[in-house]
């Protein structure tokens, strides 16, 4: 294969550009991190709430939350981003639509975060529901028998145990969110994968560009795994049985 490997490409800059390709990668990494962190934190909160509500005895609420989960979990992320970016502004009143389209700063970041949050929160709600259901049934009754209100039962008895159960799969979901954020390039967010494609388009150094992106994704993933591992260990209660 007659490929002209050129690893120093990252120190070069595109024609007519002042910043180097390396700068593009750093820029892309920042957008990837921003999208992932914001979407995951929001998804954690929303998914935690929806997942918890699905285990309550309030039938209409359970039904609504199930609907929420099924809708956002079953529609491909790509389609959700597309709808959020292109279709949503046409459905809302014209003035709101115009605001979304013209005045909102970083429109693709906004749409990407919304779509990624909805998608991830639906998956996390499933995770939380399973986690809460894994707590021994007797504890629910015991909590109520002690005179705890339902909110107290959840906050002081069920959730603290459930969070420990769901922590390992939560790490996987965090990593999935990181990788899913690359779908946002279809709505014009210049995140890491988009920047790698951009470098490849300008210089045709395709392999170098995507190798760099791969390495960055792996490094971030390992960091996430490391940090989550630490949190997981710090949450462990000595002597607790599962």
């Amino acid at each position: 294969m007659d490929y002209n490997w050129n690893w120093s490409v990252f120190w070069e800059s595109a024609p007519g550009e002042s910043s180097s390709y390396l700068h593009w990668l750093i820029n892309g990494t920042s957008w990837t991190l921003a999208t992932t962190v914001v979407a995951f934190v929001l998804a954690f909160l929303i998914g935690g709430l929806v997942g918890t509500l699905r285990t309550t005895t309030l039938r209409p609420v359970v039904w609504l939350c199930n609907l929420y989960t099924e809708v956002f979990r079953n529609i491909p992320l790509l389609v959700q981003m597309f709808i959020c970016f292109f279709v949503l502004p046409e459905l809302v009143p014209v003035s709101v639509g115009d605001y979304l389209k013209q005045d909102l700063p970083y429109p693709s970041f906004f749409s990407a975060v919304v779509a990624l949050t909805l998608f991830t929160s639906a998956k996390l709600s499933e995770l939380f529901k399973a986690g809460i259901e894994s707590v021994a049934v007797g504890q629910r009754g015991a909590a109520l028998a002690l005179g705890l209100r339902p909110t107290q039962m959840y906050l002081q008895v069920l959730l603290p145990q459930a969070i420990r159960v769901v922590f390992p799969p939560l790490t996987s979901e965090a990593l999935n969110t990181l990788k899913n954020s690359s779908v946002a390039l279809t709505i014009g967010l210049m995140e890491l994968t988009a920047q790698a494609r951009n470098i490849s388009e300008y210089s045709f150094n395709t392999f170098e560009a995507f190798t760099a992106a791969t390495v960055i994704y792996v490094v971030i993933s390992l960091l996430v795994t490391f940090v989550m591992g630490h949190i997981e260990r710090s949450l462990t209660i000595r002597g607790a049985t599962r």
Partner: protein
């Protein structure tokens, strides 16, 4: 029985010898084509009118037709009238790797020959010259690039329109809001839905998109040409035999006037799938590239 085997063996050896003798004269891509009995063309699925799929899912277009003419001559050159032609779909990101690793032999799409790209792949003679322009909605009342001041402009990520717009923004202090789109389809959607007031791309691609759109009359191009983009068919680098051979085929099409009959078919007459007309007469820049064939990049 025994005799048969001997005869067969002799035949196999003879055939093998014949093949090696002929293949010895050939190097690089031509040798590969001769040995595999197939030539593989890379096509784009929606780059009207250069390289796209028709309603029968067959790749067609101006670039595809040029490549097919080259294939016709390859058949003569390698002495394989039954050479198989295979088509492989490529996108912007995969066209270079697939060419370099030998999956495709000719990249028949819409690729601008740039000096930067020449470090990785080779280009045949310029076969089309486009120029980047801004498409706007007629109703927006924008007549030149200065009217874009403070407005949102959509560019295709990695396309030349991106740095043209960035430079324009710097030089004229326009304060543009530059939006990125993954490809032409999404960029046009941003113009159509009002996320951007202008969309920059090569004039011919804009006109093709507009001609296929729901309301072609609603759009117009600003007259200022922002660049010259020589399109060329991509081949592997460092393959002088194939480069000379394929260039000669093109040169022959240019000098015999075949190109002049082929051009209107794609740019001035109704084309599949919607039978829309792009209506773009041959530009002076292309006439020049045909009169004086060259492979100069930008």
């Amino acid at each position: 029985m025994f005799d048969h085997k001997k005869k067969l063996l002799a035949l196999v050896i003879a055939a093998g010898l014949c093949a090696t003798v002929q293949a010895d004269d050939l190097t690089g891509t031509l040798k590969k084509i001769k040995e595999s009995g197939t030539v593989t063309l890379g096509y784009r699925d929606a780059s009207l009118p250069f390289s796209y799929l028709n309603d029968a899912q067959q790749p067609i277009g101006y670039s595809i037709e040029l490549c097919q003419k080259i294939v016709d001559q390859i058949k003569v050159k390698v002495g394989e009238p039954n050479l198989k032609t295979e088509y492989v779909s490529v996108v912007a990101a995969t066209r270079t790797p697939l060419l370099i690793n030998g999956t495709i032999d000719l990249e028949c799409g819409v690729t601008t020959n740039t000096v930067e790209r020449q470090k990785q792949i080779g280009f045949l003679l310029t076969s089309y010259v486009a120029s980047a322009k801004y498409a706007v909605k007629k109703a927006a009342g924008i007549n030149n690039v200065d009217d874009l001041k403070g407005k949102a402009v959509v560019v295709i990520t990695g396309g030349s329109g991106e740095w043209i717009t960035k430079n324009l923004n710097r030089e004229k202090q326009l304060g543009l809001k530059i939006l990125n789109a993954k490809d032409g389809g999404e960029a046009f959607l941003m113009l159509e839905t009002g996320r951007a007031v202008a969309y920059i791309n090569d004039d011919v691609q804009l006109m093709a998109t507009i001609a296929q759109s729901r309301n072609p009359d609603a759009y117009t191009l600003l007259s200022e040409p922002m660049s010259a983009e020589p399109y060329a068919i991509g081949i592997r680098k460092n393959d002088p035999q194939f480069k000379t051979f394929a260039d000669d085929v093109l040169r022959n099409l240019y000098s015999t006037g075949v190109i002049e009959t082929q051009y209107p078919k794609w740019f001035q007459q109704p084309i599949p799938p919607k039978n829309a007309v792009i209506n773009l007469p041959m530009s002076d820049a292309l006439k020049e590239a045909i009169a004086h064939p060259n492979d100069t990049g930008v």
